[in-house]
């Protein structure tokens, strides 16, 4: 098990009900972590609709996660 810091933004934050949390997880990669979180918080969004970010960089879903990582799941952009 490892501990990662997950930040929630925009509609994901509103669904989860908190802006961030430290999580103990056995997930191997970003896809596995999102699957766990989607089940825990009943997140309705498929992975295809989101982009993951790891330690301030947009990453691939199969990127391995390590103890201490900072992780976000980005909804589709709507700036401008």
């Amino acid at each position: 098990m490892k501990t990662v810091h997950v930040e929630y933004v925009a509609m994901i934050r509103e669904t989860v009900g908190k802006p961030h949390e430290a999580l103990s997880t056995g997930a191997e990669d970003l896809a596995g972590l999102y699957a766990d979180l989607a089940a825990r918080y009943h997140l309705p969004w498929s992975r295809e609709a989101l982009r993951p970010a790891l330690n301030d960089r947009i990453a691939a879903w199969d990127t391995a996660i390590a103890h201490g990582d900072r992780i976000l799941f980005l909804p589709p952009s709507s700036g401008g």
């Binding site: 933004v9 609709a49 947009i58 909804p75 589709p76 952009s77 700036g79 401008g80």
Partner: protein
């Protein structure tokens, strides 16, 4: 350079940052908040961003654009927080040697900003309802 700001955008100050005498064209795009959306009356927008990621993605977009167009100067400011109809939500200035490439480069950058920058917009309506735009 990208600035994320909770304050109103001062276009005169931004325009004054451009000094390059090698540039024959400066195209400025301002995205302005409308007072309606999909038939509903909008009272205000609420923007939020992840600043580190937004800055990194903006630099990627500028690097990509510079491979396609001979950019001389580029500057962008995006509002965060509460923004009301009539206010500028984004200011983008692109300077190049000639006008055709300035128009094209500005279009390229604003399109990629809207599609890729991790910034999210929530609309608030006169009936008290609200909703995230582009919610999946």
């Amino acid at each position: 350079m990208l600035t994320l700001s909770n304050e109103p955008i001062d276009d005169r100050t931004l325009r004054a940052e451009h000094h390059a005498h090698t540039a024959g064209a400066l195209v400025v795009f301002e995205g302005i908040v409308r007072n309606y959306s999909m038939g509903r009356e909008v009272t205000h927008l609420e923007y939020e961003a992840t600043p580190a990621l937004a800055n990194a993605e903006y630099e990627c977009i500028v690097q990509e654009a510079s491979r396609h167009y001979p950019l001389i100067w580029i500057r962008c400011v995006h509002r965060l927080g509460l923004v009301r109809p009539g206010e500028t939500a984004i200011w983008l200035g692109v300077a190049t040697g000639h006008r055709a490439e300035a128009f094209e480069a500005c279009r390229y950058v604003i399109d990629h900003i809207k599609a890729r920058l991790p910034i999210w917009k929530k609309e608030h309506y006169t009936d008290g309802d609200s909703g995230w735009i582009n919610a999946p």
